[in-house]
Symmetry: C2
Subunit: 253 residues, 2 copies
């Protein structure tokens, strides 16, 4: 059974997509894993970062959720070795209709079930909210990776995340676990990053990943080259930090 | 009639909330304007930055949208002189019910109408998506301010923004204008920021605000002190840039 992990935080811009696509590419590159990336964010950033032209999609995840096609018809094989189920903004236009479907919370889980034997890891990139798509991602996942950037507004979002996970566990009877909390966009030059990291360690304890992702322009540039950080800047601090995360995620059970 | 502006971008973490609350506080401080800030983002970041404890709200914007109370019952006067209509995560839990209400797109507009004589500016902080709350904000606004951070993934989001504005104009017959595109989180040390700013200027021309907001840790720290940048670091580069934006927004018709 593949390890299915959602990368989730309703706070925007904390590094969800950056984490998902680099983690996916790295699990293939360094651990020879078979990896499926499901992009359930209408922005389609992780799809685009892996080289998919999201404006040229003939079918996409929304068609699978609305049971028009099977998952195998929308999977795109990318140069990184990661298989991707892509999305674009059309997914957002289907949010209200999808919210009205029976079993709306488990559409993704049901669509993935026939294909789980093909993969070792399934990683899901979430949109920055707690709507029906984020809920689908959490219901389809065994555990969640929570990227948190080094800011006060980022810390404020923790309560909202925990409330959402409680909702999934209690109201939807799905025992989702936390695989780990990932400190992202860490800037060693200022105290704020150190303070926020300290607060996170106090609050989450051993649920914090050891890996801390530094703020580095290379991570911001890599998607424009449709490359993972391992190709774009393989010896840099960004690649080194994500390499450490890959080791931790690979060992996590 | 007050100038009603939404601060909108479906991309997360680009500086929407940071812009809204500093712009609101600055219009009061430097231009003596009467300002209402409507926080239609369930994260409640702009409410929190202005000192409101969003977990202690007895009534909030969602209650106005569901016609349980009038706007005047939820307005909170803050120390900055800005009146705020706050939200917290409970707003997200009402998204599906509100999406089913008749006139769902103009609930905010209708709720604001009786109160427009009291204000010179109404500023609306949007969530990072194109759901019913973002649509309500756009339908209630005369024009939109679009913050864009200096990144490739930020640029990718432009097409989605323009598509949403076209939807508002054509399908909902609301002639929303662009007040301006604001370059945020500009880091002069790297080429990426310069390249992205160049692309934005080419694409948006004179719709770009002259003000460019630099990446500075002071802007990230200020919300934790419940202060605007003008109180927290009044002589810094962040305050200077937002001061310039205030002048431009104040003159915009
Ligand atoms: N460690 C980092 N160093 C520098 N830039 C980063 C880092 N992580 C992410 N970024 C950049 O910050 C921006 C936000 O990151 P990203 O888009 O991955 O976040 P997200 O949480 O997926 O955003 P959204 O909420 O919009 O989905 C992007 O432009 C990205 O390139
Ligand atoms: N110019 C800046 N310099 C440094 N940090 C900034 C700047 N602008 C915003 N930030 C920080 O970056 C993070 C994202 O900004 P903010 O929350 O305002 O964006 P947003 O677009 O409102 O996010 P969301 O999509 O989650 O609503 C915050 O932690 C904020 O403090
Ligand atoms: Mg993303
Ligand atoms: Mg915000």
């Amino acid at each position: 059974v593949p390890r299915c992990l959602a990368v989730f935080n309703m706070k925007g811009g904390v590094g969800k997509s950056t984490t998902v696509y680099n983690l996916a590419a790295g699990l293939v590159r360094f651990k020879k894993q078979r990896v499926l990336l499901v992009d359930i964010d209408p922005q389609g950033n992780s799809s685009a970062a892996l080289g998919i032209d999201i404006w040229q999609l003939t079918t996409q995840l929304k068609d699978v959720l609305q049971r028009r096609v099977g998952m195998e018809q929308v999977v795109v094989k990318t140069a990184s070795g990661v298989d991707v189920v892509p999305s674009n903004i059309l997914l957002a236009e289907e949010e209200i209709p999808i919210s009205g479907m029976p079993g709306r919370e488990v559409l993704l889980k049901k669509a993935l079930t026939p294909h789980i034997d093909r993969y070792d890891f399934i990683l899901i990139d979430c949109p920055p909210n707690v709507g029906v798509f984020a809920v689908n991602a959490l219901m389809a996942s065994f555990a969640v990776i929570i990227p948190v950037d080094m800011s006060y507004l980022g810390l404020l979002g923790i309560q909202g995340i925990e409330r959402t996970l409680t909702l999934i566990r209690e109201h939807l009877d799905h025992p989702i676990r936390i695989a780990g909390v990932l400190a992202t966009r860490f800037d060693g030059r200022n105290n704020l990053s150190k303070e926020v990291l300290g607060s996170l360690k106090t609050h989450f304890g051993d649920k914090m990943f050891q890996a801390v992702i530094p703020e580095t322009v290379k991570l911001r540039e890599a998607p424009s080259h449709k490359q993972s950080i391992f190709e774009y800047d393989s010896n840099g601090v960004g690649a080194k930090a994500y390499r450490q995360l890959i080791d931790e995620v690979y060992k996590w059970q």
